[in-house]
């Protein structure tokens, strides 16, 4: 869930149509048309990537007249499917995957069950990856992969490139080679296994406590 209070606004007099904003937008909300960047206010989730990377300083973040509430209700899907998908991706359903927005794995899983097919769909629906836009890309890709979807980055974009290794992918040879240097690969994998096992025991969505 995210209450989107800000949105991007382009100053046409500064924009040179370089497309940097297009390439870094996690929800594909900004596009260059007729050599000028145009923001779709309904899609913008207020992450400020365009404002932060525009080489011409042509984008500003402005307050929305009316905040936009986005999110996927985990009660609206079969929660058993959510738990299964999270376990397949090596995640606990209540695991917080987006540290900025606070999105948990169960909400991303629910978004996928309801039809999200790409990280961009997930971000648009849940608001995840619209804060720093950095740290949560891998668990989102892991959940989409676990659901069986092909991971194809946006054409020409820099939003994301691909999935990477997890604790379950490391070879025995690698673990043996570096075990004396403080990496604790096996021990960490055991901790993650324990977390996933705990996650499989969850039978219904809990209420968020405040």
């Amino acid at each position: 869930m995210k209450l989107v209070t800000m949105m991007a606004q382009v100053d046409d007099s500064k924009c040179k149509g370089c497309r940097t904003c297009e390439r870094v937008c996690p929800v594909l909300a900004i596009k260059v048309e007729h050599k000028k960047a145009v923001v779709d206010p309904e899609r913008c989730r207020g992450c400020a990537n365009c404002e932060q990377r525009c080489p011409e300083y042509a984008v500003a973040m402005v307050k929305r007249d009316r905040p936009l509430q986005v999110g996927v209700d985990v009660h609206a899907v079969n929660y058993g499917e959510v738990v299964d998908l999270c376990a397949k991706a090596g995640l606990h359903p209540e695991e917080r995957i987006c540290y900025c927005v606070g999105t948990r794995a169960e909400e991303v899983a629910a978004a996928i069950i309801k039809g999200a097919r790409t990280p961009e769909d997930v971000s648009l629906g849940t608001g995840a990856r619209t804060g720093c836009t950095i740290e949560c890309i891998q668990p989102i890709l892991r959940l989409l992969d676990a659901a069986g979807y092909d991971l194809v980055p946006p054409k020409g974009g820099w939003q994301w490139y691909g999935r990477t290794a997890t604790a379950w992918d490391l070879s025995e040879a690698l673990k043996e080679k570096y075990k004396s240097r403080g990496f604790y690969f096996e021990e960490d994998r055991a901790v993650l296994d324990q977390l996933v096992a705990e996650g499989k025991k969850v039978v219904k969505p809990d209420a968020e406590a405040y």
Binding site: R53, I134, W158, G162, T166
Partner: protein, 480 residues
Amino acid sequence: MQRPIKPIAPKQSQYGIDPSSVKTRVAELPGIISVSLKELFPDLPEVIYPGENGLARVRQAAVDALSKVDMGMIKPEHSVNVLASHHGFTLLGGEPYAELLMAVKDAIEQRTGCSEIRLRAGVGMRFRETEEYIKRYGLGAYYSNKAIGVAPVDEGIPIETEIGTLYGIKKAYDADWIVHVHHTDVREVHFHRQVDKAVKPFGMSYARIETRSTYHHNLGPRGANFVARAIFDSEFVQKKFAFAAFLNIAPNGIVGVDVDNDLYAMNDRVTFTGCRYYGKIMTLFGQIDECIAALDFPCPVPYVFSAGVIYANFTGANTDLYDLEAPFPPYTWYTEAYYGKRGKPLLSMILPINPAIKMCVHNYAWGGYPSAFFAEQIPTLVVGQEQADLFDRDPLNPNYMDYATVIRSTEAAMNFAYRATGVRKVIIFDGAMGGINVSEPLAELLEAKAPEVSDRVDHELLPKWLRQRGVDLSVLKQRA
């Protein structure tokens, strides 16, 4: 015990409030004094900065160290990317790191005849932060307008590693050679646990989002540190790596400059410094039984400094952050991830945030880092509506003010904290150089505990910490 040390001044930045809005520093209030780190731990090294002609001494140390490193691989027709990170600019006011970056450029130019020398300064989560530093310290002009900030959402480049494909920032690597300019300050021990700290920027500030997310989500709290090593050891990076130049820093200031073609040799020295000197401060902070923590530094909430220790580490000072047998620091992102919807850890092995912190007074700290978890766990007073509004606009902190409350002034915040907690011990994270600004009762506690802590680190903890990291002390001694 002396008068308070002047805190680091507020800085103009898009990530913080206007410096003119910071009306009062916590260190200016009655009852605050300072404690010298050298008095607490007499074995801390002598420093060249802060001190008389400090910046000139940093430059001289850099010139001397750079004169000894092999630059023979760099030819006049080559290009060189000098890689920097935002963290260095937050140390001791930022000028020493900028001075080192200038000295590196001059040394390469003079010794190799190469003129295509660029500065590529990576960031954490505030994508224009190093742009601000490049302007503030005149690095753009110094690098002949070839200095830029690079961010993890910029165009990437795949790097084949021992754990598969990872991704770097293309502009960090678009030269024949790279020079890694960093420092030995420990900063995020909760993340790196002093494992491969010298290598870390290869998996972080020089890396793309996919790589950084691998670090923070995919490999576990200790195994994650392999990400940087995987990238650095790749054929792609090894072919470009020329040398590394580090500010050698201890909690009380800059000791010198370390330059080496062998980053792993340097890494062992960094591990030793980080464990021995910073380990003492952190272990001492773990002795604090109750306190009010005041944040008062031009950095995001977790990065404000006291005695070389950042607030994020203080929130885990109830445990031994250097002990790798413990998987989870009380604060790290893996820990935060594993707090369930009821606000409790999903695994019983996760210990609570440092219970000694009874209240946090957020007098001055920036946004640009997800900080809601701190306010969720620790009662937090934010000074001034302007600062609260800043956090409400910040895409990384949409929920921070759901947990923190606004209070009109620094004086009112501290008075409220004293009354509400009944605690008189105050620790201020304001970057004071060479010492710590604290209240008198806390100063007394620190002075009483320091000798025992020093002895325990030297004889019990340090040998264990080094053993866990595979660092052979005898090898370090041979090189010294």
